[in-house]
């Protein structure tokens, strides 16, 4: 009986932890993609100062997000996103608008893929 109760408690903890993990990943995804999207919009409107500030902000947000996401997802994916985001501030600072926007879109796709791969959907399970 004790073992059964321990198993039930353990199952509850596992499900809760997995749920928290998915929720964390999705909330960080929304936050970072929101900032990067704003940076893209600013670059398209030729407000390069704002685009730069947003690019720096996205990098800072990613650094803190990475710490929180490390227990829940592959470190390789996190590294890839980190590398992609780190390119953004210098690109917009030195006036390379088209490449900046391209890299922003690439980063958004990477973050979306990272989040989607952790969601328990049929395509991920199989």
């Amino acid at each position: 009986m004790k073992r059964l109760i321990a198993a039930a408690v353990l199952m509850l903890m596992l499900v809760s932890f997995c749920t928290v993990g998915v929720v964390q990943i999705l909330s960080h995804e929304d936050k970072i993609i929101g900032i990067i999207s704003q940076a893209v919009e600013a670059a398209e409107n030729e407000d390069y100062q704002l685009a730069y500030e947003l690019a720096v902000k996205s990098e800072e947000e990613w650094i803190s997000s990475e710490q929180e996401l490390a227990p829940f997802t592959s470190h390789l994916h996190l590294n890839d996103v980190g590398l992609a985001i780190s390119k953004l501030p210098p690109l917009i600072k030195y006036g390379n608008k088209s490449q900046f926007i391209s890299e922003c879109k690439y980063t958004i796709v990477q973050i979306t893929h990272l989040a989607d791969s952790e969601v328990p959907s049929l395509s991920n399970i199989f």
Binding site: R3, L4, A7, L76
Partner: protein
Amino acid sequence: MAVTFIRAVILYVCVVIALRLMGKRQIGEMQPKELVITILIAELAAIPMSDLNSPLINGVIAILTLIVLEIFLSVISLKSNTFRRLLNGRPAIVINKGVIDQKALKNLRFTAEELMESLRQQEVFDISDVKYAIVETTGKLSVLLNADRQPLTPSDTKTAPASDAALNVCLICDGKIKKESFNRCSLTQKDVEQILTTRRLKVRDVFLMTADENGNYNIISKDC
């Protein structure tokens, strides 16, 4: 490297807890699903130990999930005969009243050589001595010999046994008293201390002391 070391320690603790939760079975007596789970746990623990890109929690979650499922299935097996049979199968009689059931052997994919090997492992060297042989769900062979081939017991000769069988328990192990053993023998802790005093021994000098409910005891002192 330090990360690998710490992960190995954490996963080791996790595996020990997991196997402890699973319960007591020796490898030779595990049901097929228990053996599969034990092997899987070993593999799951090895992956995050060596692959530092994978989060540690992935391995821990996988191990604990298997254990939880195993416990749930065990409980259901306890309650339901049908489920237990579905999961573990049922024992098969391969020798029935001295006659080999070749169909049962074929169903089990048990060859005649394997049958003879299993019998020899049970110290049976003549198949005609066997009345019943049953392949258990663990794959082990249980054998009942013909009456004229079974070892003689005191009841066969209508004599009383030389001494009543008694359980020997360990009272002192490696210099430490095991208090929980005293309720299984007729000696008390005070008796033990007196016995040791007469032999000029202290508890810490004793490697092993066993005793049974009839008051018989055995002391092995530590090598110097």
